[in-house]
Amino acid sequence: MTNAAGAAPKPLLVERKHLTFAAPPEEMVLDCGARLGPITLAYETLGELNPKRTNAILILHAFSGDSHVAGYLHEGDERPGWWDNMVGPGKPVDTNRYFVICANILGGCAGSTGPSSTNPATGKPYGLSFPMVTIKDMVRAQKHLIDHLGITKLMSLIGGSVGGMQVLRWCADYPAMVGSAIPLATTARHSAQAIAFNEVARQAIMADPEWNNGDYYAGAGPTHGLAVARMIGHVTYLSDESMREKFGRRLHRSALSFDFTGDFQVESYLHHQGKKFVNRFDANSLLYITKAADYFDLERGGGNLLVNEALADVPFLVVSFTSDWLYPTYQSRDIVSALKKNGSDVSFCEIEAQWGHDAFLMPNKRLDGLISGFLDRVYHEHCL
Protein backbone atom coordinates (compact mmCIF):
# COMPACT_ATOMS: atom_id res chain seq x y z
CA MET A 1 0.00 0.00 0.00
CA THR A 2 1.26 3.49 -0.77
CA ASN A 3 0.04 6.89 0.27
CA ALA A 4 -0.53 9.92 -1.97
CA ALA A 5 3.15 10.85 -1.96
CA GLY A 6 4.03 7.38 -3.23
CA ALA A 7 6.03 6.37 -0.16
CA ALA A 8 5.04 3.34 1.91
CA PRO A 9 3.15 4.51 5.04
CA LYS A 10 4.91 4.04 8.33
CA PRO A 11 3.74 0.85 10.03
CA LEU A 12 1.43 1.47 12.96
CA LEU A 13 3.48 0.62 16.02
CA VAL A 14 1.88 -0.53 19.23
CA GLU A 15 3.35 -1.34 22.60
CA ARG A 16 2.42 -4.19 24.90
CA LYS A 17 1.82 -2.89 28.42
CA HIS A 18 1.11 -4.66 31.69
CA LEU A 19 -1.13 -3.89 34.63
CA THR A 20 -0.67 -5.76 37.89
CA PHE A 21 -3.32 -5.66 40.62
CA ALA A 22 -4.96 -7.80 43.30
CA ALA A 23 -1.73 -8.17 45.21
CA PRO A 24 -2.16 -10.11 48.46
CA PRO A 25 -3.96 -9.63 50.76
CA GLU A 26 -6.36 -7.99 48.24
CA GLU A 27 -6.54 -10.99 45.93
CA MET A 28 -9.42 -11.32 43.48
CA VAL A 29 -12.05 -13.81 44.62
CA LEU A 30 -12.93 -16.09 41.74
CA ASP A 31 -16.21 -17.81 40.90
CA CYS A 32 -14.79 -21.10 42.15
CA GLY A 33 -14.15 -19.51 45.56
CA ALA A 34 -10.36 -19.44 45.27
CA ARG A 35 -8.38 -16.22 45.69
CA LEU A 36 -5.91 -15.24 43.01
CA GLY A 37 -3.29 -12.53 43.15
CA PRO A 38 -1.32 -10.73 42.11
CA ILE A 39 -2.87 -10.70 38.63
CA THR A 40 -1.17 -9.24 35.60
CA LEU A 41 -3.01 -8.36 32.39
CA ALA A 42 -1.07 -7.72 29.18
CA TYR A 43 -2.82 -5.10 27.05
CA GLU A 44 -2.37 -2.85 24.08
CA THR A 45 -4.08 0.37 23.12
CA LEU A 46 -4.49 2.19 19.80
CA GLY A 47 -5.69 5.72 19.12
CA GLU A 48 -6.26 8.46 21.67
CA LEU A 49 -8.74 8.64 24.52
CA ASN A 50 -10.71 11.88 24.07
CA PRO A 51 -10.88 14.43 26.93
CA LYS A 52 -14.42 13.32 27.87
CA ARG A 53 -13.27 9.67 27.82
CA THR A 54 -16.26 8.64 25.74
CA ASN A 55 -14.56 7.04 22.70
CA ALA A 56 -13.12 3.87 24.22
CA ILE A 57 -13.77 0.51 22.56
CA LEU A 58 -12.81 -2.71 24.31
CA ILE A 59 -12.04 -5.60 21.98
CA LEU A 60 -12.28 -9.07 23.50
CA HIS A 61 -10.20 -11.74 21.82
CA ALA A 62 -11.26 -15.30 21.08
CA PHE A 63 -9.87 -18.37 22.79
CA SER A 64 -6.41 -18.44 21.20
CA GLY A 65 -5.99 -14.71 20.59
CA ASP A 66 -3.93 -12.18 22.50
CA SER A 67 -3.72 -8.47 23.23
CA HIS A 68 -2.04 -7.80 19.90
CA VAL A 69 -5.18 -6.90 17.97
CA ALA A 70 -3.69 -4.68 15.28
CA GLY A 71 -0.56 -2.89 14.11
CA TYR A 72 3.05 -4.02 14.58
CA LEU A 73 5.05 -4.48 17.76
CA HIS A 74 8.35 -3.16 16.36
CA GLU A 75 9.96 -1.87 13.17
CA GLY A 76 10.50 -4.76 10.82
CA ASP A 77 7.78 -6.87 12.49
CA GLU A 78 6.27 -8.87 9.67
CA ARG A 79 3.04 -10.07 11.26
CA PRO A 80 0.39 -7.53 12.18
CA GLY A 81 -2.14 -8.14 14.97
CA TRP A 82 -4.88 -10.76 14.62
CA TRP A 83 -7.62 -8.30 13.54
CA ASP A 84 -5.53 -5.84 11.56
CA ASN A 85 -8.05 -5.84 8.70
CA MET A 86 -10.73 -4.50 11.08
CA VAL A 87 -8.82 -2.22 13.47
CA GLY A 88 -6.56 0.70 12.56
CA PRO A 89 -6.53 4.19 11.09
CA GLY A 90 -9.33 4.52 8.51
CA LYS A 91 -10.49 0.93 9.12
CA PRO A 92 -13.99 -0.01 10.33
CA VAL A 93 -12.87 0.31 13.97
CA ASP A 94 -11.14 3.58 13.14
CA THR A 95 -8.31 4.38 15.53
CA ASN A 96 -8.24 7.96 14.23
CA ARG A 97 -11.52 8.37 16.04
CA TYR A 98 -11.74 5.65 18.69
CA PHE A 99 -9.47 4.60 21.53
CA VAL A 100 -9.12 0.82 21.24
CA ILE A 101 -8.11 -1.46 24.12
CA CYS A 102 -7.40 -5.18 23.92
CA ALA A 103 -6.13 -7.30 26.81
CA ASN A 104 -4.98 -10.91 26.96
CA ILE A 105 -7.53 -12.91 28.96
CA LEU A 106 -6.98 -14.17 32.48
CA GLY A 107 -5.83 -17.79 32.14
CA GLY A 108 -4.13 -17.04 28.83
CA CYS A 109 -0.48 -17.37 27.94
CA ALA A 110 0.43 -14.15 26.16
CA GLY A 111 1.51 -11.94 29.03
CA SER A 112 -1.50 -12.23 31.36
CA THR A 113 -1.60 -14.38 34.46
CA GLY A 114 -2.36 -17.99 33.62
CA PRO A 115 -1.29 -21.53 34.45
CA SER A 116 2.15 -20.97 32.89
CA SER A 117 2.83 -17.93 35.11
CA THR A 118 5.02 -18.23 38.16
CA ASN A 119 3.11 -18.86 41.37
CA PRO A 120 4.62 -16.34 43.81
CA ALA A 121 3.97 -18.73 46.70
CA THR A 122 6.21 -21.47 45.26
CA GLY A 123 8.40 -19.68 42.75
CA LYS A 124 7.34 -22.30 40.17
CA PRO A 125 4.76 -22.21 37.37
CA TYR A 126 1.22 -22.70 38.61
CA GLY A 127 0.35 -25.67 36.37
CA LEU A 128 -2.77 -27.32 37.71
CA SER A 129 -2.55 -25.39 40.97
CA PHE A 130 -3.89 -22.44 38.98
CA PRO A 131 -7.50 -22.01 40.08
CA MET A 132 -10.32 -22.59 37.61
CA VAL A 133 -11.31 -19.28 36.03
CA THR A 134 -14.61 -18.46 34.33
CA ILE A 135 -15.63 -15.98 31.66
CA LYS A 136 -17.01 -13.89 34.52
CA ASP A 137 -13.58 -13.90 36.20
CA MET A 138 -11.93 -12.82 32.95
CA VAL A 139 -14.36 -9.92 32.70
CA ARG A 140 -13.86 -9.03 36.36
CA ALA A 141 -10.13 -8.74 35.69
CA GLN A 142 -10.75 -6.61 32.59
CA LYS A 143 -12.86 -4.25 34.68
CA HIS A 144 -9.77 -3.53 36.82
CA LEU A 145 -7.98 -2.47 33.65
CA ILE A 146 -10.83 -0.24 32.45
CA ASP A 147 -11.07 1.38 35.91
CA HIS A 148 -7.30 1.87 35.86
CA LEU A 149 -7.57 3.67 32.50
CA GLY A 150 -10.10 6.05 34.06
CA ILE A 151 -12.99 5.00 31.80
CA THR A 152 -16.42 4.85 33.41
CA LYS A 153 -18.34 3.83 30.30
CA LEU A 154 -17.06 2.01 27.24
CA MET A 155 -18.44 3.32 23.96
CA SER A 156 -18.55 -0.24 22.67
CA LEU A 157 -17.41 -3.79 23.32
CA ILE A 158 -16.62 -6.04 20.38
CA GLY A 159 -15.75 -9.72 20.39
CA GLY A 160 -16.26 -12.93 18.45
CA SER A 161 -16.59 -16.51 19.75
CA VAL A 162 -15.17 -16.69 23.31
CA GLY A 163 -14.64 -12.92 22.92
CA GLY A 164 -18.37 -12.59 22.26
CA MET A 165 -19.08 -14.48 25.48
CA GLN A 166 -17.01 -11.88 27.31
CA VAL A 167 -18.99 -9.10 25.61
CA LEU A 168 -22.24 -10.68 26.86
CA ARG A 169 -20.78 -11.24 30.33
CA TRP A 170 -19.83 -7.55 30.51
CA CYS A 171 -23.44 -6.68 29.61
CA ALA A 172 -24.78 -8.99 32.30
CA ASP A 173 -22.36 -7.90 35.05
CA TYR A 174 -21.57 -4.22 34.38
CA PRO A 175 -24.45 -2.92 32.25
CA ALA A 176 -23.87 0.68 33.36
CA MET A 177 -20.39 0.57 31.81
CA VAL A 178 -21.61 -0.68 28.43
CA GLY A 179 -22.34 2.01 25.85
CA SER A 180 -23.03 -0.50 23.09
CA ALA A 181 -22.08 -4.08 22.26
CA ILE A 182 -21.18 -6.17 19.23
CA PRO A 183 -21.22 -9.93 19.97
CA LEU A 184 -20.10 -11.84 16.85
CA ALA A 185 -20.45 -15.55 16.04
CA THR A 186 -21.11 -16.42 19.65
CA THR A 187 -23.61 -17.85 22.11
CA ALA A 188 -25.18 -17.10 25.47
CA ARG A 189 -24.66 -20.72 26.55
CA HIS A 190 -22.16 -23.27 25.33
CA SER A 191 -23.93 -26.09 23.52
CA ALA A 192 -23.46 -29.81 24.11
CA GLN A 193 -21.73 -30.07 20.73
CA ALA A 194 -19.26 -27.29 21.57
CA ILE A 195 -18.55 -28.85 24.98
CA ALA A 196 -18.03 -32.21 23.29
CA PHE A 197 -15.34 -30.90 20.95
CA ASN A 198 -13.62 -29.09 23.82
CA GLU A 199 -13.58 -32.24 25.89
CA VAL A 200 -11.97 -34.21 23.05
CA ALA A 201 -9.33 -31.48 22.74
CA ARG A 202 -8.63 -31.60 26.48
CA GLN A 203 -8.41 -35.40 26.47
CA ALA A 204 -5.88 -35.23 23.61
CA ILE A 205 -3.63 -33.09 25.82
CA MET A 206 -4.14 -35.06 29.01
CA ALA A 207 -3.50 -38.37 27.24
CA ASP A 208 -0.04 -37.16 26.20
CA PRO A 209 2.42 -38.58 28.78
CA GLU A 210 4.45 -35.37 28.47
CA TRP A 211 1.54 -33.49 29.99
CA ASN A 212 2.51 -34.95 33.37
CA ASN A 213 -0.54 -33.63 35.22
CA GLY A 214 0.17 -30.15 34.02
CA ASP A 215 3.68 -30.08 35.44
CA TYR A 216 5.78 -29.92 32.27
CA TYR A 217 7.32 -26.48 32.18
CA ALA A 218 10.87 -27.78 32.60
CA GLY A 219 10.61 -29.65 29.29
CA ALA A 220 8.92 -29.44 25.92
CA GLY A 221 5.49 -30.35 27.28
CA PRO A 222 2.63 -32.22 25.60
CA THR A 223 3.43 -30.99 22.10
CA HIS A 224 1.67 -33.86 20.38
CA GLY A 225 -1.48 -33.61 22.49
CA LEU A 226 -1.64 -29.86 22.03
CA ALA A 227 -1.23 -30.20 18.26
CA VAL A 228 -4.06 -32.74 18.11
CA ALA A 229 -6.25 -30.46 20.24
CA ARG A 230 -5.63 -27.64 17.78
CA MET A 231 -6.43 -29.91 14.83
CA ILE A 232 -9.80 -30.70 16.38
CA GLY A 233 -10.38 -27.01 16.95
CA HIS A 234 -9.62 -26.21 13.33
CA VAL A 235 -12.13 -28.75 12.07
CA THR A 236 -14.84 -26.96 14.05
CA TYR A 237 -13.76 -23.55 12.73
CA LEU A 238 -14.17 -24.61 9.09
CA SER A 239 -17.20 -25.97 7.28
CA ASP A 240 -17.98 -28.80 4.91
CA GLU A 241 -18.15 -26.30 2.08
CA SER A 242 -14.94 -24.46 2.90
CA MET A 243 -13.00 -27.72 3.27
CA ARG A 244 -14.39 -29.01 0.00
CA GLU A 245 -13.35 -25.81 -1.73
CA LYS A 246 -9.98 -25.41 -0.01
CA PHE A 247 -8.80 -29.04 -0.13
CA GLY A 248 -11.32 -31.37 -1.73
CA ARG A 249 -9.70 -34.78 -1.95
CA ARG A 250 -6.47 -33.33 -3.32
CA LEU A 251 -3.27 -35.08 -2.30
CA HIS A 252 -0.23 -33.26 -0.98
CA ARG A 253 2.06 -35.80 -2.63
CA SER A 254 2.11 -37.30 -6.11
CA ALA A 255 0.53 -40.67 -5.25
CA LEU A 256 -1.12 -42.51 -2.38
CA SER A 257 1.45 -43.51 0.25
CA PHE A 258 -0.28 -46.67 1.51
CA ASP A 259 0.89 -45.83 5.01
CA PHE A 260 -0.20 -43.44 7.79
CA THR A 261 2.06 -40.49 7.09
CA GLY A 262 -0.78 -38.50 5.60
CA ASP A 263 -1.83 -38.26 1.96
CA PHE A 264 -4.40 -35.51 1.74
CA GLN A 265 -3.96 -31.76 1.70
CA VAL A 266 -6.50 -31.41 4.47
CA GLU A 267 -4.31 -33.62 6.65
CA SER A 268 -1.16 -31.64 6.00
CA TYR A 269 -3.08 -28.42 6.64
CA LEU A 270 -4.20 -29.69 10.05
CA HIS A 271 -0.69 -30.98 10.87
CA HIS A 272 0.71 -27.59 9.95
CA GLN A 273 -1.86 -25.72 12.06
CA GLY A 274 -1.18 -28.04 15.00
CA LYS A 275 2.59 -27.59 14.78
CA LYS A 276 2.32 -23.82 14.45
CA PHE A 277 0.08 -23.64 17.50
CA VAL A 278 2.47 -25.58 19.73
CA ASN A 279 5.06 -22.84 19.29
CA ARG A 280 2.79 -20.12 20.59
CA PHE A 281 0.30 -21.63 23.01
CA ASP A 282 0.38 -23.28 26.38
CA ALA A 283 -1.43 -26.60 26.74
CA ASN A 284 -2.68 -25.85 30.26
CA SER A 285 -4.10 -22.52 29.08
CA LEU A 286 -6.10 -24.44 26.49
CA LEU A 287 -7.50 -26.67 29.24
CA TYR A 288 -8.50 -23.72 31.42
CA ILE A 289 -9.95 -21.53 28.69
CA THR A 290 -11.99 -24.29 27.04
CA LYS A 291 -13.39 -25.17 30.46
CA ALA A 292 -14.32 -21.52 31.05
CA ALA A 293 -16.17 -21.51 27.71
CA ASP A 294 -17.94 -24.77 28.61
CA TYR A 295 -19.09 -23.30 31.92
CA PHE A 296 -20.47 -20.23 30.17
CA ASP A 297 -24.25 -20.11 30.46
CA LEU A 298 -26.20 -16.89 30.91
CA GLU A 299 -29.38 -18.89 31.39
CA ARG A 300 -28.23 -20.94 34.34
CA GLY A 301 -30.91 -20.90 37.00
CA GLY A 302 -33.78 -20.37 34.58
CA GLY A 303 -33.69 -16.65 33.79
CA ASN A 304 -31.55 -15.06 31.11
CA LEU A 305 -29.08 -12.51 32.43
CA LEU A 306 -29.48 -10.49 29.24
CA VAL A 307 -33.08 -9.77 30.15
CA ASN A 308 -32.26 -6.75 32.27
CA GLU A 309 -33.86 -3.33 32.26
CA ALA A 310 -30.47 -1.72 32.69
CA LEU A 311 -29.75 -2.80 29.10
CA ALA A 312 -32.93 -1.29 27.67
CA ASP A 313 -31.15 1.64 26.02
CA VAL A 314 -27.93 -0.11 25.05
CA PRO A 315 -27.56 -0.51 21.27
CA PHE A 316 -26.58 -4.03 20.22
CA LEU A 317 -25.32 -5.41 16.92
CA VAL A 318 -25.51 -9.21 16.85
CA VAL A 319 -23.93 -10.98 13.86
CA SER A 320 -23.82 -14.65 12.85
CA PHE A 321 -22.53 -16.48 9.77
CA THR A 322 -24.52 -18.97 7.71
CA SER A 323 -21.91 -21.77 7.68
CA ASP A 324 -20.85 -21.47 11.35
CA TRP A 325 -21.80 -24.80 12.90
CA LEU A 326 -19.85 -24.26 16.13
CA TYR A 327 -22.05 -21.30 17.14
CA PRO A 328 -24.94 -21.59 14.67
CA THR A 329 -27.29 -18.73 13.86
CA TYR A 330 -30.05 -19.97 16.14
CA GLN A 331 -27.77 -19.26 19.10
CA SER A 332 -27.36 -15.65 17.99
CA ARG A 333 -31.12 -15.40 17.50
CA ASP A 334 -31.56 -16.59 21.09
CA ILE A 335 -29.41 -13.65 22.21
CA VAL A 336 -31.50 -11.28 20.07
CA SER A 337 -34.71 -12.71 21.43
CA ALA A 338 -33.60 -12.20 25.04
CA LEU A 339 -32.52 -8.62 24.33
CA LYS A 340 -35.84 -7.82 22.67
CA LYS A 341 -37.60 -8.62 25.92
CA ASN A 342 -35.96 -5.48 27.37
CA GLY A 343 -37.02 -3.70 24.22
CA SER A 344 -33.31 -3.23 23.63
CA ASP A 345 -32.08 -1.39 20.58
CA VAL A 346 -30.90 -4.56 18.83
CA SER A 347 -29.79 -5.04 15.25
CA PHE A 348 -29.07 -8.47 13.83
CA CYS A 349 -27.59 -9.74 10.59
CA GLU A 350 -26.80 -13.26 9.46
CA ILE A 351 -23.99 -12.92 6.93
CA GLU A 352 -23.86 -15.39 4.07
CA ALA A 353 -20.34 -16.82 4.30
CA GLN A 354 -18.87 -20.22 3.52
CA TRP A 355 -15.90 -20.11 5.89
CA GLY A 356 -17.59 -21.61 8.93
CA HIS A 357 -16.88 -20.17 12.37
CA ASP A 358 -13.61 -18.66 11.07
CA ALA A 359 -15.65 -16.25 8.95
CA PHE A 360 -15.73 -13.59 11.66
CA LEU A 361 -11.96 -13.16 11.39
CA MET A 362 -11.77 -13.20 7.59
CA PRO A 363 -11.83 -9.95 5.64
CA ASN A 364 -15.50 -9.38 4.83
CA LYS A 365 -16.93 -6.20 3.31
CA ARG A 366 -20.36 -6.84 4.76
CA LEU A 367 -19.02 -7.18 8.31
CA ASP A 368 -16.84 -4.08 7.80
CA GLY A 369 -19.88 -2.04 6.73
CA LEU A 370 -22.03 -3.28 9.60
CA ILE A 371 -19.45 -2.54 12.26
CA SER A 372 -18.39 0.86 10.91
CA GLY A 373 -22.01 1.98 10.35
CA PHE A 374 -23.09 0.84 13.79
CA LEU A 375 -20.12 2.45 15.57
CA ASP A 376 -20.58 5.66 13.61
CA ARG A 377 -24.16 5.91 14.81
CA VAL A 378 -23.28 5.14 18.44
CA TYR A 379 -20.48 7.70 18.31
CA HIS A 380 -22.73 10.46 16.97
CA GLU A 381 -25.73 9.67 19.14
CA HIS A 382 -24.04 8.91 22.43
CA CYS A 383 -20.46 10.15 22.53
CA LEU A 384 -20.27 13.72 21.24
Binding site: S347, C349, G373, D376
Partner: protein
Amino acid sequence: MRFDLQVIASWIEPGSRVLDLGCGNGDLLEYLKKHKQVIGTGIEFSEEKAARCIERGLTVLQGDFRQEVRDYPEGRFDVVVLSQTLQQISDPKELLIDLLWIGKRVIVSFPNFAHWSARLQILFTGMAPITDQLPYEWYNTPNIRVISIKDFKRFLRLFGVRTVREMAINTHHHDYKGTIVRSFKNLRATYGIMMLERVT
Protein backbone atom coordinates in the same frame (compact mmCIF):
# COMPACT_ATOMS: atom_id res chain seq x y z
CA MET B 1 -40.31 8.05 -0.55
CA ARG B 2 -43.35 6.10 -1.77
CA PHE B 3 -46.61 8.06 -1.54
CA ASP B 4 -48.27 5.63 0.89
CA LEU B 5 -45.21 5.92 3.15
CA GLN B 6 -45.51 9.72 3.03
CA VAL B 7 -49.08 9.43 4.28
CA ILE B 8 -48.03 6.97 6.97
CA ALA B 9 -45.15 9.25 8.06
CA SER B 10 -47.56 12.17 8.39
CA TRP B 11 -49.66 10.13 10.83
CA ILE B 12 -46.78 9.38 13.19
CA GLU B 13 -46.27 11.62 16.22
CA PRO B 14 -42.77 13.02 16.82
CA GLY B 15 -40.66 11.02 19.27
CA SER B 16 -42.73 7.82 18.98
CA ARG B 17 -41.34 4.32 19.09
CA VAL B 18 -41.95 2.78 15.69
CA LEU B 19 -41.57 -0.75 14.33
CA ASP B 20 -41.47 -1.00 10.53
CA LEU B 21 -42.15 -4.51 9.23
CA GLY B 22 -40.48 -5.29 5.93
CA CYS B 23 -38.54 -2.03 6.11
CA GLY B 24 -36.60 -2.60 2.87
CA ASN B 25 -33.75 -0.12 2.52
CA GLY B 26 -34.99 1.81 5.52
CA ASP B 27 -36.31 4.91 3.73
CA LEU B 28 -39.30 5.37 6.05
CA LEU B 29 -37.22 4.78 9.20
CA GLU B 30 -34.50 7.17 8.03
CA TYR B 31 -37.11 9.84 7.28
CA LEU B 32 -38.87 9.38 10.63
CA LYS B 33 -35.59 9.46 12.52
CA LYS B 34 -34.43 12.62 10.81
CA HIS B 35 -37.68 14.59 10.72
CA LYS B 36 -39.67 13.23 13.65
CA GLN B 37 -36.96 12.11 16.11
CA VAL B 38 -38.60 8.72 16.11
CA ILE B 39 -36.96 5.76 17.87
CA GLY B 40 -37.30 3.23 15.10
CA THR B 41 -36.69 -0.47 14.57
CA GLY B 42 -37.07 -2.33 11.31
CA ILE B 43 -37.40 -5.99 10.42
CA GLU B 44 -36.25 -7.05 6.97
CA PHE B 45 -35.92 -10.50 5.44
CA SER B 46 -33.15 -9.79 2.93
CA GLU B 47 -29.59 -9.86 4.28
CA GLU B 48 -28.49 -7.24 1.80
CA LYS B 49 -31.25 -4.77 2.63
CA ALA B 50 -31.00 -5.35 6.39
CA ALA B 51 -27.24 -4.80 6.22
CA ARG B 52 -27.69 -1.60 4.20
CA CYS B 53 -30.06 -0.29 6.90
CA ILE B 54 -27.58 -1.08 9.70
CA GLU B 55 -24.79 0.57 7.69
CA ARG B 56 -26.90 3.75 7.48
CA GLY B 57 -27.17 3.71 11.26
CA LEU B 58 -30.67 2.26 11.61
CA THR B 59 -31.72 -0.42 14.08
CA VAL B 60 -32.78 -3.37 11.96
CA LEU B 61 -33.20 -7.09 12.55
CA GLN B 62 -32.72 -9.46 9.68
CA GLY B 63 -35.39 -12.11 9.79
CA ASP B 64 -38.94 -13.19 9.10
CA PHE B 65 -41.13 -10.65 10.87
CA ARG B 66 -43.83 -13.25 11.40
CA GLN B 67 -41.42 -14.88 13.87
CA GLU B 68 -39.59 -11.79 15.06
CA VAL B 69 -42.63 -9.84 16.32
CA ARG B 70 -43.26 -12.42 19.00
CA ASP B 71 -40.49 -11.55 21.48
CA TYR B 72 -41.36 -7.93 22.15
CA PRO B 73 -43.22 -7.05 25.34
CA GLU B 74 -46.79 -5.73 25.28
CA GLY B 75 -47.14 -2.15 24.10
CA ARG B 76 -43.45 -1.88 23.28
CA PHE B 77 -44.12 0.34 20.26
CA ASP B 78 -46.35 3.36 19.80
CA VAL B 79 -46.85 2.45 16.17
CA VAL B 80 -46.25 -0.69 14.12
CA VAL B 81 -46.19 -0.18 10.35
CA LEU B 82 -47.15 -2.92 7.90
CA SER B 83 -47.02 -1.42 4.42
CA GLN B 84 -48.06 -3.28 1.26
CA THR B 85 -47.48 -6.67 2.85
CA LEU B 86 -50.80 -7.76 4.38
CA GLN B 87 -51.80 -9.40 1.09
CA GLN B 88 -48.80 -11.75 1.39
CA ILE B 89 -49.51 -13.07 4.88
CA SER B 90 -50.91 -16.56 5.39
CA ASP B 91 -52.45 -15.82 8.80
CA PRO B 92 -53.40 -12.12 8.66
CA LYS B 93 -55.82 -12.30 11.57
CA GLU B 94 -53.24 -13.83 13.94
CA LEU B 95 -50.62 -11.38 12.70
CA LEU B 96 -52.85 -8.39 13.46
CA ILE B 97 -53.51 -9.78 16.93
CA ASP B 98 -49.73 -10.06 17.51
CA LEU B 99 -49.13 -6.55 16.19
CA LEU B 100 -51.88 -5.00 18.32
CA TRP B 101 -50.20 -6.67 21.30
CA ILE B 102 -46.71 -5.24 20.79
CA GLY B 103 -47.93 -1.92 19.37
CA LYS B 104 -50.42 0.56 20.75
CA ARG B 105 -51.43 1.34 17.19
CA VAL B 106 -50.91 -0.42 13.88
CA ILE B 107 -50.83 1.25 10.48
CA VAL B 108 -51.66 -1.03 7.57
CA SER B 109 -51.53 -0.20 3.88
CA PHE B 110 -52.62 -2.64 1.18
CA PRO B 111 -53.48 -2.68 -2.53
CA ASN B 112 -57.23 -2.42 -3.12
CA PHE B 113 -58.34 -5.44 -5.12
CA ALA B 114 -61.71 -3.83 -5.90
CA HIS B 115 -60.21 -0.96 -7.90
CA TRP B 116 -62.21 -0.44 -11.14
CA SER B 117 -59.34 -1.55 -13.38
CA ALA B 118 -59.29 -4.95 -11.71
CA ARG B 119 -63.07 -5.19 -11.82
CA LEU B 120 -63.14 -4.39 -15.52
CA GLN B 121 -60.45 -6.95 -16.32
CA ILE B 122 -62.38 -9.72 -14.61
CA LEU B 123 -65.60 -8.62 -16.25
CA PHE B 124 -64.30 -8.31 -19.81
CA THR B 125 -61.43 -10.80 -20.02
CA GLY B 126 -62.66 -13.36 -17.49
CA MET B 127 -59.09 -13.68 -16.21
CA ALA B 128 -57.26 -12.87 -12.99
CA PRO B 129 -56.49 -9.15 -13.13
CA ILE B 130 -52.97 -7.81 -13.54
CA THR B 131 -52.58 -4.20 -12.44
CA ASP B 132 -49.82 -1.77 -11.47
CA GLN B 133 -50.46 -2.62 -7.85
CA LEU B 134 -50.75 -6.36 -8.37
CA PRO B 135 -48.46 -6.94 -11.35
CA TYR B 136 -48.18 -10.75 -11.22
CA GLU B 137 -49.61 -13.78 -12.94
CA TRP B 138 -51.63 -16.17 -10.79
CA TYR B 139 -48.77 -18.69 -10.81
CA ASN B 140 -45.98 -16.39 -9.64
CA THR B 141 -47.69 -13.89 -7.38
CA PRO B 142 -46.53 -13.50 -3.77
CA ASN B 143 -49.94 -11.94 -3.08
CA ILE B 144 -51.97 -14.81 -1.69
CA ARG B 145 -54.81 -12.70 -0.21
CA VAL B 146 -57.20 -10.58 -2.21
CA ILE B 147 -58.33 -7.65 -0.08
CA SER B 148 -60.61 -4.78 -0.92
CA ILE B 149 -61.05 -1.72 1.28
CA LYS B 150 -64.64 -2.84 1.93
CA ASP B 151 -63.55 -6.38 2.88
CA PHE B 152 -60.93 -5.11 5.25
CA LYS B 153 -63.34 -2.76 7.01
CA ARG B 154 -65.80 -5.58 7.44
CA PHE B 155 -63.03 -7.73 8.89
CA LEU B 156 -62.13 -5.01 11.42
CA ARG B 157 -65.77 -4.68 12.49
CA LEU B 158 -66.09 -8.42 12.84
CA PHE B 159 -63.04 -8.77 15.08
CA GLY B 160 -63.58 -5.65 17.16
CA VAL B 161 -60.62 -3.59 15.99
CA ARG B 162 -61.11 0.17 16.14
CA THR B 163 -60.10 2.29 13.16
CA VAL B 164 -58.44 5.49 14.33
CA ARG B 165 -57.77 6.97 10.91
CA GLU B 166 -58.22 5.86 7.35
CA MET B 167 -57.35 7.14 3.94
CA ALA B 168 -57.80 5.89 0.40
CA ILE B 169 -55.19 6.93 -2.13
CA ASN B 170 -54.52 6.66 -5.80
CA THR B 171 -50.88 5.98 -6.56
CA HIS B 172 -48.69 3.51 -8.39
CA HIS B 173 -46.72 0.65 -6.90
CA HIS B 174 -43.48 2.54 -6.21
CA ASP B 175 -44.50 6.10 -7.00
CA TYR B 176 -43.73 9.05 -4.78
CA LYS B 177 -46.72 10.97 -6.20
CA GLY B 178 -50.38 10.26 -5.59
CA THR B 179 -53.77 11.71 -4.73
CA ILE B 180 -56.23 11.26 -1.91
CA VAL B 181 -59.53 9.64 -2.95
CA ARG B 182 -62.55 11.03 -1.11
CA SER B 183 -65.53 9.44 -2.81
CA PHE B 184 -66.30 5.93 -4.15
CA LYS B 185 -63.10 4.85 -2.42
CA ASN B 186 -63.50 1.12 -2.92
CA LEU B 187 -63.92 1.71 -6.64
CA ARG B 188 -61.43 4.49 -7.27
CA ALA B 189 -58.55 4.02 -4.82
CA THR B 190 -55.54 1.81 -5.60
CA TYR B 191 -54.47 1.60 -1.94
CA GLY B 192 -56.13 1.73 1.45
CA ILE B 193 -54.29 2.93 4.55
CA MET B 194 -55.70 2.49 8.05
CA MET B 195 -54.54 3.15 11.55
CA LEU B 196 -55.89 0.54 13.95
CA GLU B 197 -56.17 0.29 17.67
CA ARG B 198 -57.06 -2.56 19.99
CA VAL B 199 -60.44 -2.26 21.69
CA THR B 200 -59.62 -2.84 25.34
